[in-house]
């Protein structure tokens, strides 16, 4: 008896959800499109910095230095000037990202005294890329100097590079940015979709007043709750599977761990998102408030959960706060399974945290929802 009522309710909710064509489209096509775009666009590599060049020396040696700067795509020669003020102005107006000034005494100093100075001005607005650029410049000049030594003192005391660092990048040998960002974007999309869809769908019935009609029928409040959660979770699971398909087919992400565990914890995370959405809908009085809170909550969850920047880089306080962020735990597990091939023996603490989250959020939202019904 109860089962047939539950079934009827489930069918009703599912057809209602599917009838909202625009929502279905936004939960299926939009995530795929945004995943493809963001997978390609998100790029933490610092390349193609526009370099303004002021070469007052104009000899072979100074041109060699310019070539060394622009050789590997970190800098591209954007403008040549012959006036220092002109270069300064270009940097001030943001027309170039960096300026290289080679003084007229450059080659003479270098060949006579063995030392010479050039000036590099970097637009420091972006603290991250200017730091990287500074590192590259140190490499470029050192490499340039080593080449010079070989060129001008070939017979000096058996010059050999004394030490070398052999660097390998584990898990991501090509340091492909997409391998870091795509799992993050999947997490962000699932969070955003689950919370918003659940919150807005749950509050809709309250707004339209059909909830009262539902209450007059002899179904238990638990059945109403289940019939709300299951269809939306099903739809979101479909979204998630498509996201994974894009990740594997378009971005060639590896799957080094257990596919079964990946699916289990992904579905668990969807449950957490849906439960949070439901809870929001019970705490707010109307749709505007639901939506504002729902959109707002996504900002800290996504930004502090490590979707786009690593949690390790955050100040200590926020590394602690991340512990109460379900997305943080999900992303550790997701990146662990996909990239590192690790299993429960490594991230079992995060797994327990996720299970606790799922139980807690479901209990709270079920409780609030039931109280609202009675």
């Amino acid at each position: 008896m109860l089962n047939s009522r539950l079934l009827a309710l489930l069918i009703k909710e599912t057809t209602e959800l599917l009838r909202n064509r625009q929502l279905v489209i936004f939960l299926t096509i939009a995530p795929i499109v945004s995943m493809v775009i963001f997978g390609y666009v998100l790029n933490s590599n610092v390349t193609h910095l526009r370099l303004g060049i002021l070469d007052q020396n104009q000899v072979a040696l100074s041109r060699q230095l310019v070539d060394a700067f622009t050789a590997n795509q970190v800098f591209v020669a954007s403008r040549y000037t012959n006036d220092q003020q002109d270069l300064t102005r270009q940097i001030e107006r943001g027309q170039v990202d960096a300026g290289l000034i080679i003084p007229s005494t450059f080659s003479r100093d270098l060949l006579q005294t063995g030392k010479s100075e050039v000036a590099v001005i970097i637009d420091g607005i972006n603290a991250y890329s200017s730091g990287i650029a500074k590192g590259y410049i140190a490499q470029i000049t050192t490499q340039f100097n080593l080449n010079l030594v070989e060129q001008y003192q070939p017979l000096s005391t058996g010059l050999k590079i004394p030490i070398q660092s052999e660097i390998t990048f584990r898990y991501n040998p090509g340091t492909l940015d997409s391998w870091f960002f795509v799992p993050g974007v999947i997490g962000a999309i699932v969070t955003l979709s689950a919370i918003l869809a659940a919150a807005v769908e749950a509050v809709r019935e309250k707004d339209q007043g059909t909830l009262e009609q539902l209450l007059m029928t002899p179904v238990a409040s638990t059945a109403i709750l289940i019939s709300k959660i299951v269809p939306i979770s099903g739809l979101l699971t479909g979204t998630l599977l498509m996201c994974f398909a894009v990740a594997f087919l378009v971005f060639q992400l590896p799957l080094r761990g257990n596919l079964f565990l990946l699916l289990i914890f992904s579905i668990l995370y969807i449950q957490i998102g849906v439960a949070i959405g439901l809870a929001i809908s019970t705490f707010s009085e109307n749709k505007l408030q639901t939506i504002l809170i729902g959109i707002f909550l996504n900002i800290p969850i996504i930004l502090l959960g490590g979707a786009v920047t690593a949690v390790n880089s955050m100040p200590l306080l926020f590394r602690w706060i991340a512990q109460i962020n379900p997305l943080y735990h999900y992303l550790v597990i997701l990146r662990g399974i996909l990239l590192k091939g690790t299993g429960l023996e490594v991230w079992w603490l995060h797994a327990i945290a996720m299970i606790l989250f799922a139980i807690a959020t479901l209990l709270v939202s079920a409780n609030r929802y039931r109280r609202q019904l009675s």
């Binding site: 909202n20 625009q22 939960l27 939009a30 995530p31 963001f38 666009v41 933490s44 590599n45 610092v46 193609h48 910095l49 001030e92 943001g94 270098l110 063995g114 010479s116 050039v118 590099v120 970097i122 637009d123 420091g124 607005i125 991250y128 140190a138 000049t141 080593l146 010079l148 000096s156 005391t157 050999k160 004394p162 030490i163 660092s165 052999e166 660097i167 990048f169 584990r170 492909l176 974007v185 962000a188 999309i189 918003l196 869809a197 807005v200 749709k287 505007l288 408030q289 504002l292 809170i293 959109i295 996504n298 900002i299 930004l303 502090l304 920047t309 690593a310 880089s313 955050m314 590192k340």
Partner: protein, 370 residues
């Protein structure tokens, strides 16, 4: 006549907005909370990458190498220095493992090349890149030191100067950018909700029946929510000044002109979404996907847009937030005045006019169909 009708529409819209007290409070408080979270928490570069060192050589050279590595101020020793499987990288307790093999110093002294083995966790590409540069920089510094003893020094020294933000404070980069991201989300969201609510409750039909034209309706609604958005912007700038010390450098007029233009673009997008979606749930998903994701990820908020590959780089030019973030960084950090910013404002203006035309067309279609 037309001006009066538009004015009345603005007043009506604001009246309706301020009737929901909690909603108003949320509309002004949530952006500030978002600013606090972003400003305090988001850091691109780690200052404390955990490092596992295994020095098997134990010589002066190997020790000075390790000392130099820590002197970059980038690394901290990992808590657990063990090497067994699953090792520190798998466990996420360290991000870099360095092994200096036996014979490192002997090789270097004998004219062979002593090798340091470095394994970097590549799953976090940002910090992998930073660590890579730091390790290579350390190695090169040691190489130069060693060579300096062997041969006469011959070398170019680059005097690197960082302008505008010499201390590389990340907040100076993140906070002005976050103004753009936050202001791109909230005003469009509010106007889209208002429009769809009117559609769901059927009150929009009354508007269609009135003498108000689609043009006046859109202008009236836009102006009302631009006003709300400007209020949000002022609050953000004040909080940013007091908490993060972000202040005007030079001429503030580009921002004073540019902010309403940016609001216009944002609010138009809200209107477009509001006209083309029929349910609030769809409208919210649309704003959520387009605004939250593009704002954070596609507008150069975190990473420079120079490296974006070709067909996708076009997309970023269509995002008004991109220009506004640049404008904010210019006014609050660089201070180049109108010379460096007029193109940004012009671009936003063109985009918002195009969006307004689309919203107007959509509204006329809707009026005809209902």
């Amino acid at each position: 006549m037309m001006i009066r009708r538009i004015r009345n529409q603005v007043f009506k819209e604001l009246q309706q907005f301020q009737r929901d007290r909690l909603g108003v409070a949320l509309a002004f408080i949530l952006p500030v909370i978002a600013l606090l979270i972003i400003g305090f928490a988001i850091r691109l570069e780690a200052k404390n990458i955990s490092l596992v060192v295994r020095d098997l050589d134990r010589t002066t050279l190997s020790r000075s190498y390790i000392e130099r590595l820590y002197a970059t101020n980038l690394f901290v020793p990992a808590k657990w220095q063990g090497m067994r499987f699953p090792d520190a990288l798998d466990r996420d307790t360290a991000q870099v493992q360095i092994t200096i093999p036996v014979g490192f110093a002997a090789d270097a002294a004998a004219g062979r090349t002593g090798k340091v083995q470095v394994i970097i966790d590549g799953s976090d590409t940002i910090n992998a890149r930073v660590s890579d540069l730091a390790v290579q920089g350390t190695t090169l510094a040691v190489v130069q030191e060693q060579l300096g003893q062997l041969s006469e020094t011959l070398g170019v020294v680059a005097q690197v100067r960082l302008w505008f933000n010499p201390g590389r404070q990340e907040s100076l980069f993140i906070v002005p950018g976050s103004y753009g991201v936050i202001l791109a989300i909230f005003p469009p969201l509010l106007i889209a909700i208002a429009l769809v609510r009117e559609k769901e409750q059927g009150t929009i039909l009354q508007l269609y029946a009135s003498s108000l034209s689609a043009f006046e309706l859109l202008i009236g609604k836009s102006l009302a929510y631009i006003a709300v958005g400007l209020g949000e912007a002022i609050i953000l700038f004040v909080v940013g000044f007091f908490l993060f010390g972000v202040r005007f450098i030079g001429d503030p007029t580009p921002l004073i002109i540019g902010t309403p233009v940016f609001m216009l673009a944002g609010v138009q997008l809200g209107l477009i979404i509001g006209t083309f979606t029929t349910t609030q749930s769809a409208a919210v998903q649309a704003i959520g996907t387009i605004k939250v994701l593009t704002g954070f990820l596609l507008a150069g908020f975190l990473f420079p847009l120079n490296s974006v590959p070709f067909p996708f780089s076009i997309v970023s030019y269509l995002v008004p937030v991109r220009y506004y973030i640049e404008l904010c960084r210019d006014v609050f950090v660089r201070g180049s005045g109108w010379f460096g910013t007029w193109e940004l404002i012009l671009a936003m203006l063109i985009l918002s006019i195009a969006e307004f035309a689309l919203a107007w067309w959509g509204m006329r279609q809707m009026q005809l169909s209902s």
